[in-house]
Amino acid sequence: MSNAATFDTRTDGAIPVESSLAYSYHRSGTPRVGPQSRVILRERALLGHLILRGGAIVLDEAVREVLGLGLPGQPQGLVVDASGERSVQWLSPDEWLVIVPGGEEFELETRLRERLADAHYAISDVSGGQTLLELSGEAARELLMKSAIYDVHPSHFPVGKGVTTVFAKATAIIRRPSEERWELVIRRSFADYLYRWLLDAGAEYAIGVEK
């Protein structure tokens, strides 16, 4: 144990909880998904998000053992488990983003810490600070091209990639977990701005929001 304080920030399900977009849904609404919709936006709210810091070799074994997923071997790598519910993404040579179903993150952190013992590493729970959006539909990629400076062409952005980049005037993580689906990981405080941006830029494609 690395003398870090761990803290389970979740509590029982009876307590009301608000996603990063709660205010935005209230303020800007949720355009319906219709037959014209060429982009569909869906928030996967309240997931468990952990930032892992440390050496790849040290962490890889522990993550593999505890999560059943290895660290992505390459920069910009994203690995997703068979269920599609758990993923590990490379953020920097000593930093990974782990996303798991909401509520799993504390147990995961605890088990990782047990497994890593005295190694030098850090784990930070950031579940309250970010949320995950899914984009699907034939125009999803063009919507990303309107918004982000990173090249999202399939030849450059195959399934299994994830990058942190400039998105509109904020920062976002763009991920491609499958052929059909793009994901954005955005910060809570920028969520409303980015939601408004996506609705505005997506209006041309009759963007719909699934709740």
């Binding site: 920030t9 930032i51 600070g129 970010q130 309107k146 920028f190 505005d200």
Partner: protein, 1016 residues
């Protein structure tokens, strides 16, 4: 409005226009008709409109000269509604649409009868280049009056006065090969690159791709050239790896193959974007392209010859004459004289003749022109006058005759008598200049080639030029060069291109061109009738000669003195001629006079397109806390702090009257001091710091000591830059032996995180520590006031006993059923708890606090009240009470400086420099106004001697100043020279209204100096 007129100059057949449909449009209040496929310019010419504008300086009547981006005269104001106004539209690039409404940009009362033209005629003599530098100087006081009148004649079009109804966006494109220009070279290059499988973008500025092939006389494989164009476009359109962008201008070529393409998506349809399925599409779109390889196939611009009267309507470029006839089915006149220095010009005469109009003569500057073109003209029975040129165009509102004479180019003389040929149109060609604008955006200077009489581009890495842009004009060679460029570019991006079989072009035998730019006149240039070089800015050959006489010898000087090339056409027609004239006057060669540098944009671009979607509500992100909706619903006024929207104060409506800020803040302050208030402090930056060397790191980055802070404790710290000046402050809590939570100022969060990483990554990589931002993860609610403990106790399982949960302790537990970390720290001086919960639970906790807090008088407060309360306690705000020139010692915070720490922490060394050791530095003190009713102005300057003459020595200024409802008086913080040793002394604050306030220097702690209240 008068009746529509017949299209007198429209030919019965030919052109790429749709004669089956008629479009009505209005120009200068007159109604006209044209066809789909027309530009505004071609439609005006079809209708016989000669005068399209008045010139900028001399107000001379001007007509259409060119058919593309190089047009200097036909600059119009578009728009039938106020919001739909578009200034300075080039008629040659504006597709005609039904209902188009345009006006000339100059001319009063109208372009036909312009009063300023008189002034230009009479006064023109008194307006040589730079005349304004030589006059309007006396008396000095009159300049602003003179200028008022000078400004009246400024400008071309006008800005709309209403907000733009249209929207714009950006598309971030990445490709292997970007081909700029969809003419012969560009299409050949695109074809080769496309077949390799490379990602290709082809951008072309015109309505249709094909470039000069759309009006070419030449054939490919024996068929009209535009058939090949159609075939290539069909193939490219079918390629998934190819993006075709017509109506798209590459306007800027930036570093590392970043090119901006401006795509006009609706400007050809109407003045504002038409609705599609209830959605208004973007008017234009900027493609921000990062290309692996760039191919510049931008073609060449024809140069006009410079002769007297060359600006009279009816003087056109030879190539433009061909374009109007062949592409638009318009013959812009009846009787043509062609003046040329080369073979290319002959096409205009042949086309004119084929259109059934009269060619009076071809006047060729060469002594013995020969070759296929010359033969063709002679075969048509066209008279060719050799060794001669049009030396002067006659006519007022339209050319009436051409004066033609033999000339000697070498001695720049007219030989013998001039002959006057009656005509209504003069076409001229001085040869072609490769369009090198984009290449020169990269900073690469072009090279002059005597054989081409033009500059060709020098190229940076990853770019090629082909076809006209490279000075290659033979169609067969152009196509071959295009393919070669396409193959090479594809290969450079890892794509092998299969062979491309090219259509056969007939190679015509051509003769060399004569180096003719300015045509001599019988009179010397300074005395001859005006010979225009830059039509838009009214720059004449005489003006250039005068500039060189006055010592302006570099072309950059000449351009600036005469304003040549500074118009909206950026000298596309005139610059090379101007350089040639300057070279002649100086007795130098063209490259010796200078080179020509172009800057983005190639053609002007709407601000809106550059701005894209980053305007109005999306101009800049608004960052919200998890409690934002509550604040909005409770009527908060917001303050911008960085990108955050923070509640500033919460005005209540009491007895039907909304509180003023002053009232609200007084109420909020008293609530905290007497009962309890609550602040959303979630915007503070929070950084999670873990690792065995975390303490050591904190010890180096903060000015104070961190080795002995126990788990469960919190400490305030100051952070300096290595110049010793305060950078940021905040508290850091020890969560575990190797685990800390740092807080930063709201505005400083990102900067501090990067600062920590900078030191860790560059100076101390050996320290084992990691930093992760958790700002957004935690919501922070501060409850503060005498009732804080009671309220919190109702909803928490944490033991709040004052002796076990002490000031500057933190504890974990549950608040309102939610796991929370509670920090007993105070920025108000009252008992205070900062409750941190995961942000998704914040609203629940906040609302629960209110459910329980009502009975204690729980009052939400904003940043203004926070400021008053902290200032009463003498707590600083970094960035308000400090400004980048303030040390911790200046702030009187030696208690937070660990002078004896073993490591020389960041900022320490600088504190012992001679200037930071001065005792008369500006130091933070309290300021008590002598009159308690006075609230000093923040930013008021402090002086010791208010009777001193101006300039009055200043000793400091007020950094924070408020009315304190608790003290019922004004009070302030400020910095004063040597202030720490001046307690009790009086300083003065002379104000703009003539009053001088007096204040006493006091301790900055105005309230509860012993700090007892935070420990109730």
């Amino acid at each position: 409005m008068s009746q529509s007129k017949k299209q007198a100059n429209r030919l019965a057949k030919g052109g790429r226009i749709d004669r089956s449909r008629t479009l009505s449009f209005t120009f200068n209040g007159q109604s006209y008709q044209g066809h789909p496929g027309d530009t505004l310019a071609s439609a005006l010419l079809a209708n016989g409109v000669d005068i399209v504008n008045r010139s900028f300086k001399y107000s001379r009547p001007r007509g259409i000269v060119a058919a593309g981006a190089e047009e200097p005269n036909a600059i119009v104001q578009l728009g039938s509604t106020e919001a739909g106004q578009v200034p300075n539209v080039r008629a040659t690039q504006q597709a005609l649409f039904a209902g188009l409404t345009a006006r000339s940009t100059n001319g009063w009362p109208n372009v036909q009868r312009d009063m300023m033209g008189l002034v230009g005629k009479v006064g023109g003599k008194f307006m040589p280049p730079g005349f304004y530098y030589k006059t309007f100087m006396a008396p000095a006081s009159m300049w602003m009056t003179y200028e008022k009148y000078i400004r009246k004649s400024a400008g071309l079009g006008r800005s709309p006065m209403e907000v733009d109804p249209d929207t714009y966006d950006h598309l971030h494109q990445h490709c292997d090969v970007l081909v700029v220009g969809g003419g012969a070279a560009g299409l050949a290059a695109a074809l080769a690159a496309a077949r390799s499988g490379a990602r290709v973008i082809v951008a072309d500025e015109q309505e249709d791709m094909g470039g000069s092939l759309l009006d070419s006389r030449e054939t490919l494989d024996g068929k009209p050239a535009d058939q090949w164009v159609a075939q290539v476009l069909e193939e490219l359109a079918g390629c998934e790896n190819v993006t075709l962008l017509p109506r798209t201008t590459a306007n800027g070529y930036h570093d590392h193959n970043f090119v901006t393409l401006h795509e006009r998506r609706t400007e050809h349809l109407s003045e504002t974007a038409p609705l599609v399925n209830g959605h208004r599409p973007v008017r234009s779109r900027m493609h921000r392209v990062r290309a692996g390889q760039v191919i510049l196939a931008t073609g060449a611009h024809e140069r006009p010859l410079v002769y007297a009267g060359n600006d009279v309507p009816g003087n056109l470029l030879a190539g433009a004459v061909s374009t109007y006839i062949r592409r638009y089915g318009v013959a812009p006149g009846n009787k043509l004289v062609l003046s040329t220095s080369n073979d290319y010009g002959y096409r205009a005469a042949l086309d004119w003749k084929e259109a059934g109009r009269e060619v009076v003569a071809i006047v060729d500057a060469r002594q013995a022109p020969a070759g296929d073109w010359v033969e063709a003209a002679r075969a048509q029975g066209i008279k060719v006058i050799t060794g001669s040129a049009v030396i002067e165009a006659k006519g007022g509102s339209r050319v009436s005759a051409a004066r033609v004479a033999k000339i000697d180019i070498d001695t720049f003389k007219v030989i013998g008598q001039a002959e006057t040929l009656a005509c209504d149109t003069i076409a001229s060609s001085g040869g072609y200049s490769p369009v090198i604008h984009l290449a020169s955006h990269t900073g690469a200077r072009p090279t002059w080639r005597d054989d081409l009489l033009g500059f060709v581009p020098n190229l940076v890495k990853g770019v090629q030029a082909c076809g006209g842009a490279n000075g290659t004009y033979d169609l067969g060679e152009v196509l071959a060069e295009g393919v070669e460029a396409g193959v090479k570019a594809a290969a450079a991006t890892g794509h092998a291109a299969p062979a491309v079989s090219l259509p056969q072009a007939k190679t015509l035998e051509q003769g060399p061109a004569a180096p003719l730019f300015q045509v001599p006149h019988e009179k010397p240039t300074l005395r001859a009738p005006k010979q225009f070089v830059d039509l838009q800015n009214d720059v004449t050959a005489a003006g250039i000669e005068l500039a060189t006489r006055e010592g302006f010898e570099s072309i950059e000087h000449v351009k600036r003195y005469t304003a040549m090339g500074f118009g909206t056409d950026q000298g596309k027609l005139g610059n090379i001629n101007g350089m040639a004239i300057a070279a002649r006057c100086l007795g130098r060669s063209i490259p010796e006079v200078g080179t020509t540098v172009f800057r983005p944009n190639y053609t002007p671009v709407t601000f809106g397109a550059i701005v894209g979607r980053h305007c109005r509500d999306l101009f800049d992100p608004e960052r919200y806390t998890a409690l934002h909706q509550w604040h909005v619903e409770h009527g908060a006024e917001f303050e911008d702090v960085g990108q955050w929207k923070r509640p500033w104060y919460f005005p209540q409506t009491i007895n039907g009257k909304k509180e003023t800020m002053h009232e609200a803040v007084a109420r909020e302050c008293l609530a905290v001091r007497e009962k309890i208030g609550i602040l959303d402090a979630s915007t503070l930056g929070k950084i999670d710091i873990q690792g065995p060397d975390a303490r050591e790191f904190l010890n180096r980055i903060y000015t104070n000591k961190w080795m002995k802070l126990d788990v469960g404790r919190v400490r305030y710290g100051l952070m300096c830059k290595d110049d010793g000046m305060l950078m940021d402050d905040g508290t850091t809590s020890c969560l575990g032996e190797n685990h800390f939570l740092m807080t930063t100022t709201t505005g400083g969060a990102a900067g501090v995180l990067e600062w920590l990483e900078l030191w860790h990554q560059t100076e101390w990589p050996e320290l084992q520590v990691y930093f992760t931002s958790v700002t957004d993860h935690w919501a922070t609610m501060t409850i503060t006031g005498p009732e804080a403990r009671k309220l919190l106790a109702e909803i928490t399982d944490i033991d709040l006993d004052r002796d076990t949960f002490k000031f500057m302790d933190w504890r974990a537990g549950k608040v309102a059923g939610v796991p929370a970390r509670v920090f007993r720290i105070s920025f108000t001086g009252e008992l205070a708890y900062e409750i941190n919960v995961q942000a998704n639970y914040a609203m629940h906790v906040w609302k629960t606090l209110f459910e329980h807090g009502d009975k204690y008088g729980l009052t939400p407060y904003g940043t203004e009240t926070m400021h008053v309360l902290r200032a009463e306690k003498g707590f600083i705000i970094a960035g308000q009470d400090s400004d980048g020139s303030v040390t911790p010692e200046d702030l009187g915070m030696q208690w937070a400086v660990g002078y004896d720490k073993p490591f020389s922490w960041v900022g320490k060394r600088a504190l012992s420099r001679s200037d930071t050791r001065r005792t008369d530095r500006k130091q933070l003190v309290g300021l008590k106004p002598k009159d308690p009713k006075v609230v000093l102005e923040e930013g008021a300057q402090i002086v010791f001697d208010p009777k001193h003459a101006i300039p009055m020595p200043m000793a400091g200024h007020v950094t924070s100043s408020y009315y304190s409802p608790t003290l019922d008086s004004g009070f302030a913080l400020g910095v004063v020279k040597g202030g720490h040793n001046k307690l009790g002394e009086t300083v003065y604050l002379p104000m703009a209204d003539g009053q001088t306030h007096e204040a006493e220097i006091v301790s900055p702690i105005f309230y509860d100096p012993k700090g007892e209240r935070q420990n109730v």
